[in-house]
């Protein structure tokens, strides 16, 4: 049935009202995470002028935030375009992206052995050619054969089993077993397009309503806050203690848990990021045991984000998986619900663009496992390259393999360089006026605390910006260096931080330190009380 002329006029009139409202709302849109009020939904088409406008899309989409690629990055990209159009217009000639843990975008080289195997799996016809032996190491050829033989029909382009190729999961399970000294069941592994989709799956599974809460560290990697928001749940913060190297206190966990319960929140899980992001601390084993005990006692699912397990830079700390810790305490599948996340994006391999990762899910019933499988199956499977890479990082070349020496040389070079860069950047930051920076024991970031003078805070307020965002924007405009304001990760109210990666190549670090130091001096001089 066609709309009458009167209907159509009303329709258009309503649309123009919404358009005007949208214009007015746009100012507030990006800077604050305050949700736009959603228009009341109605059963008649003419009351909601557009099917898809910012007024009537899913309000959880509007609410969620992800600062790592948020406002500051958009500003940086605009500046970059400007630099290309008007070289010399700024006091720097390039943007240095220190906002994101993306090593290979800043010059880190991939591990040769892994890329050899992947190339052979991408183009298996190479395996039948004699010339291949002249271009690839023998053990990479052998490993590629092994892998393609685990794939039905050698079809690397086919959808696999929804949990990932069985043979690859077997390899990963063996790798986990070797790492921890406790066995791992390949059926507990779900290969995913990076660790992030696995986190989303668990948030989806655990969240029934806004009354369901997830304990998250503050500061945290904002995937967690964004995911909880998208799934309509409630983030229950627990504060890491900056004064004690970002220590995780059980008393703080208890306090926050009780507080949430008293507000009628059903707390379901505890997220622990170890090594920490953005904070970089590596948990002591004792601390981990207390956390396991806490989760068991309170009936919480332990969500262990362990993607930085290979990034430990201090001799006095070692990575221990929560799986190992809980099994060494005698706790098995009947005692604790534990989900551990790993990724190919970090470590020494840094293969972010491949989107590879997995979660190991232990301690839950077969009928829940069925549900997780079902959700995974709707997306059919994760990308095969990422699956293969996940198996490679959990079973790298061993002593005696042809590629072992060169592999170890590459790996050690990357890790020792990261250790050096973590140290030199941390030292430089600690020299700045009013800045204190905890050591990066692990991961890829530094999270210095900046103490901003009152004048600066007022100037920020005048610009309707958070003080740390104000500082970061000034830093960007003066130096081209992109960091993420601490408010994107959460911090104790009234304190300000920013997160900076340790990833620019070693030879660029001195220049970065110089520019940062000069900027900070000028900034403090401008706003000194």
């Amino acid at each position: 049935m066609r709309k009458s002329a009167a209907d159509r006029f009303r329709h258009l009139f309503n649309r123009s009202l919404v358009f005007v409202r949208n214009q007015q709302n746009q100012q507030h849109h990006r800077l604050s995470p305050i949700p736009l009020s959603s228009s009341p939904f109605s059963s008649m088409a003419s009351d909601s002028p557009f099917p898809v406008t910012a007024q009537n899309i899913n309000p959880q989409v509007l609410k969620c935030q992800y600062a790592v690629r948020g406002e500051i990055v958009t500003l940086a990209q605009n500046l970059q375009k400007d630099l290309q159009a008007n070289p010399g217009a700024h006091s720097f000639d390039e943007i240095i992206y220190c906002n994101i843990g993306n090593p290979q975008s800043l010059g880190q080289q991939p591990i040769t052995f892994f890329r050899e195997v992947l190339a052979l799996c991408d183009y298996p016809a190479l395996l039948d050619k004699s010339e291949t032996q002249g271009l690839f190491s023998a053990d990479s050829i052998e490993r590629a054969w092994q892998i393609v033989d685990q794939i039905p029909g050698r079809a690397t382009g086919a959808y696999s089993h929804s949990q990932g190729i069985q043979g690859l999961r077997d390899t990963i399970a063996a790798g986990i077993g070797e790492r921890d000294g406790f066995p791992c069941n390949a059926d507990d592994i779900f290969l995913t397009d990076g660790a992030s989709p696995a986190v989303h799956m668990m948030m989806q599974l655990l969240t029934r309503s806004e009354k369901d809460g997830i304990l998250c560290p503050i500061p945290q990697y904002p995937l967690y806050s964004a995911s909880i928001t998208l799934h309509g749940g409630h983030l229950v913060p627990y504060y890491l203690d900056e004064a004690t190297g970002w220590g995780l206190e059980i008393s703080e966990l208890k306090k926050q848990l009780e507080d949430a319960k008293s507000k009628g929140i059903n707390v379901r899980a505890l997220v622990v990021i170890n090594p920490g992001n953005p904070t970089g601390q590596v948990l002591a084993e004792e601390n981990q045991r207390a956390i396991v005990e806490f989760c068991k006692k309170e009936g919480l699912v332990l969500l262990a984000d362990e993607v930085y397990q290979e990034n430990v830079y201090v001799p006095e700390k070692k990575f221990h998986s929560f799986k190992k810790v809980s099994r060494s305490m005698g706790y098995g599948d009947n005692d604790l619900c534990l989900v551990s996340f790993q990724s190919v994006s970090k470590g020494y391999h840094g293969e972010c663009g491949k989107r590879g990762g997995y979660m190991e899910v232990t301690g839950f019933s077969p009928d829940v496992r069925e549900q997780i499988y079902k959700v995974a199956s709707v997306n059919l499977c994760s990308n095969i390259t990422g699956q293969i890479l996940a198996s490679l990082i959990m079973s790298p070349p061993k002593v005696g393999d042809e590629s072992y020496e060169s592999f170890m040389a590459e790996k050690n070079a990357i890790l020792s360089s990261l250790t050096k860069r973590a140290k030199s950047l941390e030292e430089a930051l600690n020299k700045l006026e009013g800045v204190t920076c905890n050591k990066a024991e692990g991961a890829m970031y530094l999270f210095p605390r900046i103490r901003l003078p009152e004048k600066a805070i007022k100037a920020a307020e005048a610009e309707k910006t958070a003080p740390d965002a104000f500082y970061c924007k000034r830093l960007l405009n003066a130096t081209g260096i992109v960091v993420v304001p601490g408010s994107g990760f959460g911090q104790v109210p009234g304190t300000w931080h920013f997160r900076c990666t340790i990833l620019p190549q070693e030879d660029r670090i001195p220049a970065i330190v110089t520019r940062l130091t000069e900027f900070h001096e000028k900034f403090m001089n401008e706003f000194r009380d």
Binding site: A45, T53, N102, G194, L380
Partner: protein, 481 residues
């Protein structure tokens, strides 16, 4: 002992509600039988390479080179790779910021999005803006992201064809929305009738739903029909009149097996109509590297293109995309190669053309073999597979069979398909997984088994079906409409 958070009773109800038959009961039974040593022919999912289709050579060469850039420095690389693959790999590496191992822009590599825009422009004859094209880890992710943006809660209705590809029903359930079905007409070759659309939306609104979007799958899955330009015009007019966003799933656009209705994109038809519709109807179009002749399902590569979506909404969609950081980079390269393949004169052109033509012509033949094979069974009626990768025959089941199914506690087509599986090893998906009219039963199979195996497979099916009918036939009549 209070229930634990990951005990069955404590998990998200939406997860429990969602169903995805393509890898559901039949598939799980098939994998069990396979473990016991039975030979299984998996025709449950559109997964060409798993059934012997070979990947095209050129894309695999380019991606392998991108994967191992040190090869490009080796003087002997020309012994293994043609010059145009080498050049293309170099070109792709130069437009990434860190090769295949770095997160790209959350929307995808700008240079590849440009290639996609140029492809769309060539295909449709209208300009396409790369800024409104987002690459994703498969078209499924694009569909999920789009539906997540639209659906606020169970008050929001999404019109979906019946039968449909159950990604839609599963995703709507997971997101807590409501599916509003519109029935395709089997006797009219699975045609789409605007009367049926109106009936469907009226029913949805009567239930108090805010119906916001309409999905079309063109060519259809599981039904295979190719929509005419006229049909698409009607659909677009309907969306304009009823204020719906059109979601155009076009992943099978190069799988066309008849000449009467070539593929025409929803975008082209919309632009052809002209203003006001072309400026106002909101449209999101999906494509993938998994289908066509590439069949690269395992790469997880896709894109969506937005038309007439307001900038503030695009910003929100970008924000959500950024949480997942970036789509996987190798698949982005596959997408670039799909939309911008070798051209006449390129070294690899002949081989590429030969490989792709061979696959499409074989699919066309197999579509015919399968349709004819099903139609030669007296209780089976099968519309021709005009496009996509599936055959969706209607199987008329006698009352005794329906009774037996009931006794076994199974839906009738699940019962039939399980028996088919046990007898022949052919793993299909029951029509109930896609939706069908009450009392009418189908199964979905793919047309993907190797051509030389097709006759044997159809014979095997026919033999089983004859025996089944022998067992359950009762001369009083059949189940159908």
């Amino acid at each position: 002992m209070p229930p634990k958070p990951l005990d069955y009773e404590s998990i998200n109800e939406n997860v429990k509600k969602a169903q995805y038959a393509v890898r559901g009961e039949l598939y799980l039974r098939a994998t069990e039988l396979q473990k016991e040593g039975k030979k299984i022919i998996f025709t449950n999912v559109g997964n060409p390479h798993a059934l012997g289709q070979k990947p095209l050579t050129f894309p695999r060469q380019v991606v392998a080179l991108c994967q191992a850039p040190f090869l490009l420095d080796d003087p002997n690389v020309g012994l293994l790779f043609p010059a145009d693959a080498i050049a293309r790999a170099k070109q792709y590496l130069s437009i990434t910021s860190g090769g295949l191992g770095a997160y790209s822009d959350s929307r995808g590599i700008p240079g590849v999005r440009k290639e996609v825009a140029e492809f769309i422009q060539r295909r449709d004859g209208y300009p396409s803006d790369p800024e409104l094209i987002y690459l994703t880890d498969g078209a499924s992710k694009a569909v999920m992201q789009t539906l997540n943006t639209i659906i606020k809660g169970e008050g929001d209705g999404i019109m979906v064809p019946v039968p449909q590809y159950p990604l839609y029903s599963a995703t709507i359930a997971l997101l807590g929305g409501t599916l509003v079905p519109y029935y395709l007409e089997e006797t009219a070759n699975w045609g789409l009738d605007t009367n049926e659309l109106r009936k469907s939306i009226t029913e949805g609104r009567r239930k108090g739903l805010n119906v916001k979007a309409m999905v079309i799958i063109n060519p259809g899955n599981p039904t295979g029909q190719c929509l005419s330009a006229e049909n698409l015009r009607e659909v677009l007019q309907f969306c304009y009149d009823e204020n719906l966003v059109l979601l155009g799933d076009e992943v099978y656009q190069t799988n066309i097996y008849q000449d009467e209705r070539p593929f025409i994109s929803s975008k082209k038809v919309l632009m052809d109509i002209g203003p006001p519709l072309s400026k106002e109807v909101q449209l999101v179009s999906f494509h993938s590297v998994s289908k066509g002749f590439l069949g690269e399902c395992g790469q997880r590569g896709g894109y969506f293109e937005m038309t007439n979506i307001p900038p503030e909404t695009v910003d929100e969609i970008y924000k959500v995309a950024s949480i997942s950081l970036s789509p996987n980079v190798p698949a982005q390269i596959f997408m670039g190669l799909m939309v911008n393949p070798p051209k006449p004169g390129d070294i690899s052109y002949d081989q590429f053309f030969r490989e792709s033509k061979g696959i499409l012509e074989s699919l066309r033949r197999r579509a015919r073999i399968m349709t004819d094979g099903f139609n030669s069974c007296r209780n089976v009626v099968c519309n021709f597979t005009e496009g996509a990768m599936y055959s969706f025959p209607q199987v008329r089941l006698p009352p005794k069979a329906l009774e037996a199914a009931k006794q076994a506690g199974k839906v009738a087509d699940v019962f039939y398909c399980l028996k088919l599986l046990e007898a022949t090893g052919i793993s299909t998906v029951p029509g109930s997984g896609f939706g069908q009219k009450d009392g009418v039963f189908h199964l979905r199979t793919t047309i993907l088994p190797a051509e030389e195996e097709m006759p044997a497979i159809m014979d095997s099916f026919k033999k089983f079906n004859d025996e089944f009918m022998e067992q359950y036939e009762d001369h009083r009549g059949y189940s159908r409409l």
